[in-house]
Symmetry: C2
Subunit: 340 residues, 2 copies
């Protein structure tokens, strides 16, 4: 089958890879209806993460079940399914508490590489969620978005305790930040401030429910958030970048007693204990337990209440994945959908 | 009046200081029934915080109102009152959200120095809480404990989301940690693991409701907590020290999705963003908004449901404050009560 492999920073190739097979009785094989490139794929692409050997790429997926292992009981061939980047048993104590991405049996789907025609998904019963029927083709990008960026933005909003009456600020205008705006809107936030300096992303943020746009970054951005909130800061701040600057921008934009939900995969971040102590913020985040939210999110998509697939502003055949990476790296595209 | 002044690390003197007077119409003057030495007073005593000029010491207080300013309406001379180390208006948006220690008009009572015969308390209406009547003398240490260490331990427990069915670990066996144990017990925790290697403190922890004692520290302590919790870590961890080691011990002792409540005043702590991200813990803490809890805590004390004053294991006349600092510095005393 065809699949994306990264050989080195900037060197992404689509080549023939072995077709996946059932390795464990809890596995399922899916045929990908669509897959995509993640902002986090840009870390190795830009050399910020090491590429020691050729890496199959991709951890987002939606598609049709082709085959299941002998112990899989909840998922059947022919179903359209979505899963998260961490496979999880969904039965352990950590899963039941809603932290499936820290499941005691978790497996990283990224190690398998879903930018391909087929993929083996471990722990299929715990990981995959099926739609009531095979969805209309126009909904596929929306379901694909649920696999990571929507679920991650949603988790950030929940971690930031977004809700009615709250003012929410969103640091980061990538797909996760934009879908954090959507989550905040869906969760009833009163005011949603998107921090972005890119016109096309500002536009999408406003369509997703942002009420204000702040173009300044860093401490100047913090000052803008404060001036919009009687000097106090936002109740809830979503951090969707993962750098030192963005983390501090998020923490400093939050009022005392407020909540920061951070989901940008942190890179070389060190938080000063004194500043955190006196900030009085709540800090929560990490790899989003997307599985917790999938049934609800997929229901909203099935019923066309939300259209998170709108973050895909470039669609390419799988064989042109390299051009997709380039478009995201240069910020010409927010997020690239790949058709196997 | 007599009052404690720190001249340099290790150099604490009791000397004549000017008697306080009403400076603002919102002030009150109280005559201290008792005052005490805080673990945080040891930071400058040990040279970990600078002492640039002679500093009046003390920020914990309970006593009788002597005089109030012209705008004070809720507090009257003759009442027995307790307040927190941050004076607060208790009416601003931050106070109403329960974060009085970040009140937009907050004033640090520590700058006034309550290790003295009298003290001026700013924002008396917002800051002070009165008992129904002047309490029996034996309750004075309990009420004094409510002023900081009990309220701080309580906040840590609330920040760590302690509650029924939860396993709680407490890092730090000072007065705050021990009263964190008491708070966890009062808030209905199922299992309370106190981390202490000192026999007298272990004993008090057990009396306050600890169900287990772990004597190991650092990563060995973490391993012990994990082995007591099916490898997962505690649901709720109270951090009551403030060092790099204790913060990491707390974070690593917490299960994914669990909560760390940290109240040890941080000193040279830097949190690694990657480790925090993948730990999946909730982190909340800072200077405890003791005022939020005072009415409830004072009610429990008035009705003799809790006896937090038991953390005072040494009582001295105010004039012997220097010996009290020495006893706490050498850990011969958990907490020293001073009688003016």
């Amino acid at each position: 089958m065809r699949g994306v492999v990264m050989y080195a920073p900037g060197d992404v190739r689509v080549e023939d890879r072995p077709e996946p097979a059932i390795l464990k009785p809890t596995d399922a094989i899916i045929r990908l209806s669509a897959t995509c490139i993640c902002g986090s794929d840009l870390w190795p692409y830009r050399g910020a993460d090491k590429v020691d050997e050729p890496m199959p790429m991709g951890h987002e997926y939606a598609g049709i079940v082709e085959e299941v292992g002998s112990e899989v009981t909840g998922i059947k061939p022919g179903q359209f399914v979505v899963g998260s980047f961490f496979a999880s048993d969904n039965t352990c104590e950590i899963c039941r508490a809603g932290y499936q991405s820290s499941c005691i049996h978790r497996e990283l789907v990224g190690a398998i590489g879903t930018q391909a025609e087929w993929a083996r998904i471990p722990l299929a019963d715990g990981t995959l969620v099926a739609t009531p029927d095979v969805p209309d083709a126009d909904l596929v990008p929306d379901f694909l978005a649920a696999s990571d960026v929507l679920g991650t933005g949603w988790f950030a909003a929940v971690a930031a305790e977004v809700g009615p009456g709250k003012t929410v600020a969103v640091v980061g205008d990538g797909a996760v930040g934009l879908l954090g705006v959507m989550a905040a809107q869906q969760l009833g936030a009163e005011r949603i401030i998107a921090m972005s300096r890119h016109e096309s992303r500002q536009k999408l943020a406003l369509e997703f429910g942002a009420t204000d746009i702040v173009t300044e970054r860093g401490d100047a951005g913090v000052e803008q958030i404060k001036s919009l909130t009687s000097g106090l800061g936002a109740h809830s701040v979503i951090e969707a970048v993962g750098t030192q600057e963005s983390m501090m921008q998020a923490i400093r934009s939050t009022r005392a007693g407020g909540h920061v939900g951070y989901v940008g995969v942190t890179h070389d971040v060190a938080l000063n204990g004194d500043e955190l102590f006196f900030s009085h913020v709540h800090l929560h985040g990490g790899p989003a337990p997307v599985r917790r939210f999938l049934p609800d999110l997929m229901d909203r998509i099935w019923n066309r209440k939300i259209r998170p697939g709108r973050v895909f502003d470039l669609e390419l055949p799988l064989d042109e994945a390299a051009a997709g990476y380039q478009a995201m790296d240069t910020r010409k595209a927010i997020k690239v959908l790949l058709r196997p």
